[in-house]
Symmetry: C2
Subunit: 193 residues, 2 copies
């Protein structure tokens, strides 16, 4: 998605060889017109595949996932980050450790919002080592549903998240793929959409 | 907003005299068509007031705020819930204690995304005692900006959040106002929009 590449070049900040800040239009301040365009791009790609729900992980994935779900005409489900195991109610949980952020949480899905008939599109803002996306996959599988694909805004292609998901049999569609980051320098490789 | 009232009657669960669960279309699973309608309703009301940014609090406010910002053609800013004070960077923070949830966090805004020229519309899903909304007001004021209004999806009118915000001089526009909750029973009073 050329417009997202351009925006990253204009406003993104490569803080190190692994950290890209896009706080002015994705993570803290959000450009809703861009999110709507992203939603249309994902929906155009995944339309006709029988998708019943769009899943995302709170909270930076919510805006692009909401517009994607809107375009596809299906509900969005927000996977919650809980600090501890929930012992009441019928929920699926999986522990996620983010090496990027040095945090750990229980990714949580109420069993009410998934069934064996569901075909899920997972949308998230970043793909690095794939911990969060793999956790989302685990929860969908716990619910007995199938996965149509994983849509990513910004993939760090020099980390192994994509390989991990593809090796597990899932299709990844990234709007932007970054081949190299260095302080003040961002290089792209060919994206999927 | 009659359609939101109807949806609450159909799918909401009054768990006690203070707790209303709307997990099937607002908080966990989200209906993007409803969120788009909500965005249009808020935008119709606030259009022409010179709003420059829509602020919300992560994470249940993000979907309705994103569609509102989209309709108004302005950026959205997500106020972050940090578990501890951030000691680096130029940020505004205020401590929020939620009596409803028994939690405490530092509501956080990067100074980069607010200026004295901004006129802010605050959007949130629930208004109960007004802790979160008052915290958002505090951060906007720390940034020297003005507040056009506070848009709420579901107001618990039997709690004092609205009075607290109005006494401080702010205009509250709620799509739905609940006058009474009891296990299995939800009563409404006349809403603003």
């Amino acid at each position: 998605m050329k417009s997202l590449e351009t925006r990253i070049l204009e406003e993104g900040h490569a803080l190190s060889e692994t950290v890209l800040k896009v706080d002015s239009f994705v993570n803290h301040q959000v450009d809703p017109k861009l999110m709507s365009d992203i939603g249309k791009t994902f929906a155009d790609h995944y339309r006709g595949m029988g998708i019943t729900k769009v899943f995302t992980i709170e909270s930076s994935g919510i805006a692009p996932a909401a517009f994607t779900a809107y375009e596809l005409g299906v509900p969005m489900v927000i996977l919650k980050k809980q600090t501890s195991k929930i012992l009441v109610g019928d929920v699926y949980q999986t522990n996620i450790t983010s090496f990027t952020k040095g945090t750990s949480y229980e990714l949580t899905l109420s069993a009410t919002y998934i069934s064996a008939d569901d075909k899920v599109l997972i949308i998230d803002d970043f793909l690095a080592n794939g911990e969060a996306a793999s956790g989302a996959v685990t929860l969908v599988q716990m619910g007995g549903a199938s996965i149509a694909g994983i849509g990513i805004l910004i993939e760090k292609s020099f980390q192994h998240g994509r390989k991990r998901l593809e090796d597990a049999g899932f299709k990844v569609s990234s709007l932007v793929r970054i081949s190299k980051l260095a302080r003040g320098n961002i290089e792209f490789t060919e994206a999927d959409l």
